[in-house]
Symmetry: C2
Subunit: 340 residues, 2 copies
């Protein structure tokens, strides 16, 4: 560790994830010597609270990374493609929350509880990719099962919170609900249709094969992170009118049978995952209670009625924290501890 800690830049500091990145850096006492809050032109000059002080938002440019040790990016794939290589060239290691580099063979894609060893590859491009939020939440529960017995197939249907689509999307749900309560017309701008009191089976853009990009992320990223290209994934990703925290209904088939009791044991032992599975006492994970928490929550664990080696469960996680900002800071922690 450099004397007095690291110079950390947050690119996209005023976004829904960027804001949480600042909070998480502070809460986890990441050794920050200096924090640079970077954003696009219209946010320059804003002041963001950090560690009892205020940080002025500066312009995100190629020259902004001089002297930066670690750059956390959450400013969209376009900006990551444009600025991450410059950051690395200036000497910063980039932890990128966008989808820009995730499937790049020379870029590690990391959930620190699952494949921290992959971080070592950062030297190739100077970038470590943070996985998609739904992928992280789902894999936090799949990883301990996969270690016990290889996963063959996953069927996953998601229930994703609006803040996963950004701060404006969160505001849109709030505005729609307030308008509904006042009998006023509801405005639709961010989402393709009204999200209040509705459910949209559409997240990110549709591909030729009928799946959305969001769905294909779960397919490809799961294989890369679990380091098993044979894993088969059938995804359906859906937006629900929840503010924060994604939920996923997961049906998994493994090579050997994993009895429900064994699964509970594996889940309990996995760091960052909390078992919440006592249906008789109405204990099961819900997004409202996972929001703001660092850990993911797993419950509704039961053996599949249809296939011999099948297991069904329900997992929730705050997609802004473990699904994005926290995971990125955890990667930075491993970087700091082992490599920088």
């Amino acid at each position: 560790m450099p004397k007095d800690g690291y110079v950390v830049a947050v690119a996209g500091a005023t976004g829904a994830v960027g804001e949480v990145m600042l909070q998480v850096l502070e809460q986890r006492k990441f050794p920050v010597r200096k924090l640079l809050a970077l954003a696009s032109e219209r946010s320059v000059g804003k002041r963001l609270p950090f560690s009892g002080e205020e940080v002025r938002v500066e312009m995100l440019t190629r020259d902004a990374f001089k002297g930066v040790d670690i750059a956390l990016f959450s400013a969209g794939a376009g900006r990551s493609l444009e600025f991450a290589p410059a950051a690395w060239q200036a000497g910063a290691v980039v932890v990128d929350n966008s989808s820009a580099f995730r499937m790049d063979r020379e870029v590690p894609l990391v959930v620190p509880e699952i494949n921290p060893h992959a971080i070592a590859l950062y030297t190739q491009r100077g970038i470590i990719a943070n996985p998609n939020c739904t992928t992280i939440v789902t894999l936090m529960a799949l990883a301990p099962l996969h270690r016990f017995s290889r996963i063959k197939r996953v069927v996953a249907s998601s229930y994703q919170a609006v803040s996963g689509a950004g701060a404006k999307a969160l505001e849109e749900l709030k505005q729609q609900v307030r308008a509904w309560a006042r009998d006023q017309p509801l405005m639709v701008e961010v989402f393709p249709y009204q999200i209040a009191f509705n459910v949209l089976p559409h997240i990110d853009v549709f591909q030729e094969n009928g799946y959305t990009k969001e769905e294909m992320k779960l397919v490809h990223e799961s294989r890369k992170i679990l380091e098993d290209p044979a894993i088969l994934v059938s995804p359906t990703t859906v937006r629900v009118p929840v503010f924060t925290a994604h939920s996923v209904s997961v049906h998994v088939e493994t090579e050997q049978k994993i009895p429900a009791a064994k699964a509970r044991e594996l889940f309990s032992a996995f760091p960052g995952l909390q078992l919440l599975d006592d249906p008789a006492a109405k204990q099961y994970p819900m997004p409202l209670y996972a929001a703001g928490k660092d850990d993911c929550y797993v419950g509704r664990i039961r053996e599949d009625l249809a296939v011999p080696n099948g297991l069904n469960f329900w997992v929730c996680g705050d997609q802004l924290r473990k699904g994005a900002a926290l995971n990125a800071v955890q990667i930075a922690e491993v970087l700091a501890e082992r490599y920088l």
Copy 2:
């Protein structure tokens, strides 16, 4: 048909489904000579609109069914068990929306588009059971596939509207949202936890096997209605903060491969099912737009990435209409046309 039509009783006329039963009888011009609106004591004396007139709610008793030809029940399983046999004894054929008789071997369980022939069995007990709402919506899309190639396995995750839990549940979501908009505390009475801005992986009571009753209904009722006890179902049923219309993410495996194009053809040709599947034009089913409609809507049709004979799709239907009241009236229509 008796001269001038039938004497029709609606038991549970003041409930969420009962109310829609009256609307549907009127809208479909069911030949009603006389309508009896029956309910429990506290609703007696209320007046309900029907065909431009008002019907006074009478007490639901064993003696209430004299002269009734068809009795539509939606007053809960307990009341069906108590009063349906008396209705039959008095000469009325019962169409029962509760779960009380659904799995009874002597009681047909019917979706008129799927197995209308089963209605003939009504003579055994005098009762025809209306299936569970989620089962109906899901099977409206599965049935045409099953006719083309036998279904082996279904993985279904539901997104169920609050009005499926009754009129009070609907009111609870509205109250919670209004309270939120006014910065007031949210009251929780009907659902086990706050439903506004939340998702509950819990519908009906939990069984020994870790599944809820709601989930097991999908397993058992699907087999009975599709008349194939070998069909395997993996269900997860979830409540979402939507007023009306259930949605289901369905992953199905069939004996022969059904290409997506063939599935669209089969869905299009099935009565009561509307194809809404043009992702490029943002056309896909959503509960907000299925609410108040008679048909179910299917879209997001795509071949499974994980299994050779797998197909994934998304189906929405108004659970008060096709999932309950409409289906019951449709059964009554077949009864009237063919048997009474």
